[in-house]
Subunit: 333 residues, 2 copies
């Protein structure tokens, strides 16, 4: 039984039936630090994954704070919901500062119109020490949303480098938000981020002079042309948008659907999904292996003394680790 | 015997004697992907760590590309070498792009005057997929440099978020480089990075109007005053510098020495070092544990089939991982 008093089986049934509060509970279980909660959530997920699923499309939205992510997600989300078959989940990663634990963004209040829609599910998630990035459980949360019938999943992250690399491992398309005239286009720092973008939105064009928008657009386009292609057959576009007057919003969604169809046809969409599943599987294996090891009674009893010797520089970290591991495992031969 | 034909013992002797090419070889061993090379390097390090060592000071230098890291490191390095007892090692992390494998920075040519000094050792290291960050072996490379008698170690990284978090785990003092008037001070994105800075250098002040320098300085100072203190007893300063006309370079080195003495007196310097050693030890334990696991014959034979089933969605990543791990370890009870 889960802590909410549901068995994994009945919680899975509710998630599969599209019950929003059951979905919320399942995500909470996944995000819990307690391993029994995660086991329950994985049992729920296993049940869900047994069922045939429809198509889904996972989209990462990234950009510096102030680039206009929330307003763009709201505008784009409402555009997506114009198609009656669509149901939209938004996983908004709350970039808690690693040190102060403080939170910059608010909650659903940021996307009020979208939040009021029955076909939308908005979930802010703590990034818990993962600087501005996806939480380690974001991939699992995406799978749960899909099981609950949300065929479009938007994942919001803050553009600080490493986090985009990790979101790349769980979404199909990455939209990078940039302010025109911010000078970002001139700085090498964005290069690593631009390399993983499938599309670039130049945001808040209503606030910038037309000339600065045009300049930024061509600067980004020429920067993109110098980068290696992320996917054969796909060239990212630079699309000026305004979430205030709606400019470019429909164009972005059109670009995303075009991406879906191009990569669907050349097989890369499916191939990418397989790679992502493999990555998730391998990280699960590592996690379970380490958990099993640290549960070993012998290791637990010898760890503190060796750790103390390392801290006091009586033993090097390398031979300390070797001694500890060899005490419970014979060397492979 | 190492691949260079030295036994770990004789290589360690040469490193301890300050032999530059031996130090270079030892770092190359550490950075090698081959585990037998790493084992040899750890054997060298173990020998080195047995000897009593003098004081050392480890300094991280971080900032966006274009902030002037190389020129500042050269100017600061020459300032540090004005004290005859100092020997300086510079570990310059080469921010190879994760995707293209390309390299933005050059090599020692960037720090020509410093490179020509006998008391300086400059080592560019590939960051190998760690976006702009420290390589996983940087901590070990620092220890090797110290064993070779370099009492000051500068570690250069590119400011993209996660990398500063990892350099924080291996240096005593972090200097953050910022361009005046870059607008960085207004963006929340730098917050996570500012929180780990022990000092801020406003660079290239010779190129900026005095007013813009003054504005940036007070903006950073007030931003710093709002952040939680990283170390009790230490408030980071904002120091305008020019590597061209030498402004502020001596001031930065003075600030660093003051930090060393303040934190030496209140015991935090030593405490921080112990924590860092502990972190290195624990990451070594995880690494060895996983290596031992993946060397297990049973695991190696069942992994491919389960991985294929996961990729084809016949098994979920979670139950696949569980099945694999439980096939070789009994569940802890």
């Amino acid at each position: 039984m889960t802590r909410s008093g549901f068995s994994p089986g009945s919680l899975a049934e509710k998630v599969l039936a599209g019950d929003r509060s059951a979905l919320g509970r399942a995500i909470t279980l996944i995000e819990s630090g307690k391993s029994e909660h995660q086991e329950q959530a994985h049992a729920v997920l296993d049940r869900c994954l047994e069922r045939p699923r429809g198509d889904s499309f996972r989209i990462g939205i990234t950009g510096s704070p102030g680039a206009g992510k929330s307003t763009l997600i709201e505008a784009l989300g409402l555009e997506i919901l114009k198609e009656p078959r669509n149901r939209l989940a938004v996983l908004a990663i709350d970039p808690s500062s690693t040190r102060s634990g403080g939170s910059i963004l608010g909650d659903k209040a940021r996307m009020e119109r979208l939040a009021s829609r029955q076909e939308a599910f908005i979930r802010p998630s703590p990034s818990s020490g993962h600087l501005g990035g996806t939480s380690p459980r974001t991939h699992e949360a995406i799978l749960l949303c899909e099981a609950a019938g949300y065929n479009i999943v938007l994942v919001e992250t803050v553009g600080v480098g490493q986090s985009e690399i990790s979101v790349e491992a769980m979404v199909d398309y990455i939209l990078l938000l940039m302010l025109p005239g911010s000078g970002d286009e001139l700085q090498g720092i964005k290069r690593g981020i631009m390399e993983i973008a499938d599309g670039i939105a130049l945001t808040k064009t209503d606030e910038a002079p037309a000339k600065s928008v045009a300049n930024s657009r061509s600067a980004f386009a020429s920067a993109l042309s110098l980068l290696p292609k992320k996917h054969p057959g796909w060239s990212p576009s630079v699309i000026p948008v305004s979430s205030v007057n709606g400019e470019g919003i429909a164009g972005i969604w059109k670009d995303m659907r075009r991406f879906r169809s191009v990569l669907g046809e050349n097989g890369l969409f499916e191939e990418n999904r397989k790679k992502q599943l493999d990555k998730l599987f391998r990280s699960q294996v590592d996690e379970l292996l380490l958990k099993a090891f640290y549960a070993n009674a012998e290791l637990r009893s010898s760890l503190p003394a060796i750790a103390a010797a390392v801290r006091d520089e009586r033993v090097s970290p390398f031979s300390g680790a070797k001694r500890l591991v060899e005490s419970i495992i014979r060397s492979p031969r």
